[in-house]
Symmetry: C2
Subunit: 154 residues, 2 copies
C-alpha cells in the first residue's frame, strides 16, 4: 500500500446499474460525448463522501426518475481503455424498480436524452457505449451463473 | 454524470483480497499507521492504468510473496469513514493460492510486518483494522449465500 499522502494517480470511480423488467433492460441514450447518442446503463461518477450504492441509486433517479433498490453487484470493470476520458472504473450493480415507482414510466433527465428498453434476446445486434455491451453479455451469463465479473475475466 | 473534466473529488480506489486455506484466512500485520500492528487483508491502492484485478494480485504478491488467482468479488466497501486518511473505497476479491505457490509459506513484505493465519471459527474475538472485521463477517455469510456485499447492505 502507498501510505499517507497519495503520490500516485488512481482510477476514478463510477457506478452503473442494470435494471430488468420482464424480459427488458433499461438503458438511456447519452446526451453528450463520449458516446453521444449511444445507449448505456444509467450511471455516473461517485462523489467524495458518497457510497457507491448511494451514487448508483442517485444516478438512476437523475437519469430515469425511477426509485430503485440494489440487489447485487455484477462486477467491477476497470480496463484503462474502457473510457476515452481517462482511467475510469465502474462498479456495476443489478437493481430493481422500487414498489413506489413500479407503475410509473421512466422519464429521461440529466445527461440522458431518452429512455430505451431493450429486450435481452435482442442485445447481440445492439451497439452500446463504453464497455456496456460486454457488461450486458456478462449480465446474461450472470443470470445463470451468479458469479461476479471484471474486465479481464475469461 | 459529471462530464468532461472532473470538477468533483472522488473516492480513491483500493483492493483487498480474502484468501482461505483449509479453515484459515490469510491476514497481514500492518507495519504503518493507520491501524499499525493491526491485522488486515493484503491489499492496497489501485494505480492509474492498472485494473483492480491486477492490483489485487500485485498487492498479495508484494505483501505475502504468494501468487494467487481471483475467484469472485465479495463486495465493494465505500463508507466514507472506513479509512481515517480520507474517502477510500475497496473492491474486495476472494482468491486462492496458485498451484505454484501452494506448498510455499507466505513471507511478509512491503507494508506487511508479518503474516497471520486466523481460523474462521475464531474471528468473532479478533480485532482487525479498517472495516475488515465487517468484511470478514460478510465473507462468512457469503460462503453460504454467494451474494455480494457493500458498506450499508443490511
Amino acid at each position: 500500500m502507498n501510505e499517507g499522502k497519495q503520490q500516485h494517480k488512481n482510477p476514478i470511480p463510477t457506478v452503473d446499474t442494470i435494471i430488468q423488467k420482464d424480459s427488458q433492460v433499461l438503458l438511456v441514450i447519452r446526451k453528450k460525448d463520449p458516446f453521444k447518442e449511444k445507449m448505456v446503463f444509467p450511471g455516473g461518477f461517485v462523489n467524495e463522501g458518497e457510497t457507491v450504492e448511494d451514487a448508483a441509486i442517485r444516478e438512476v433517479k437523475e437519469e430515469t426518475s425511477l426509485d430503485i433498490e440494489l440487489e447485487n453487484i455484477l462486477g467491477v470493470y476497470s480496463d484503462p481503455s474502457r473510457d476515452p476520458r481517462g482511467h475510469i472504473m465502474s462498479t456495476v450493480f443489478v437493481g430493481r424498480i422500487s414498489e413506489r415507482s413500479n407503475n410509473r414510466e421512466p422519464m429521461a433527465g440529466d445527461d440522458a436524452a431518452a429512455i430505451k428498453w431493450i429486450d435481452l434476446g435482442d442485445i447481440e445486434e445492439e451497439s452500446l457505449g463504453f464497455d456496456h455491451k460486454k457488461i450486458l453479455m456478462d449480465y446474461k451469463e450472470w443470470k445463470q451463473s451468479k458469479q461476479t465479473y471484471w474486465s479481464s475475466k475469461k
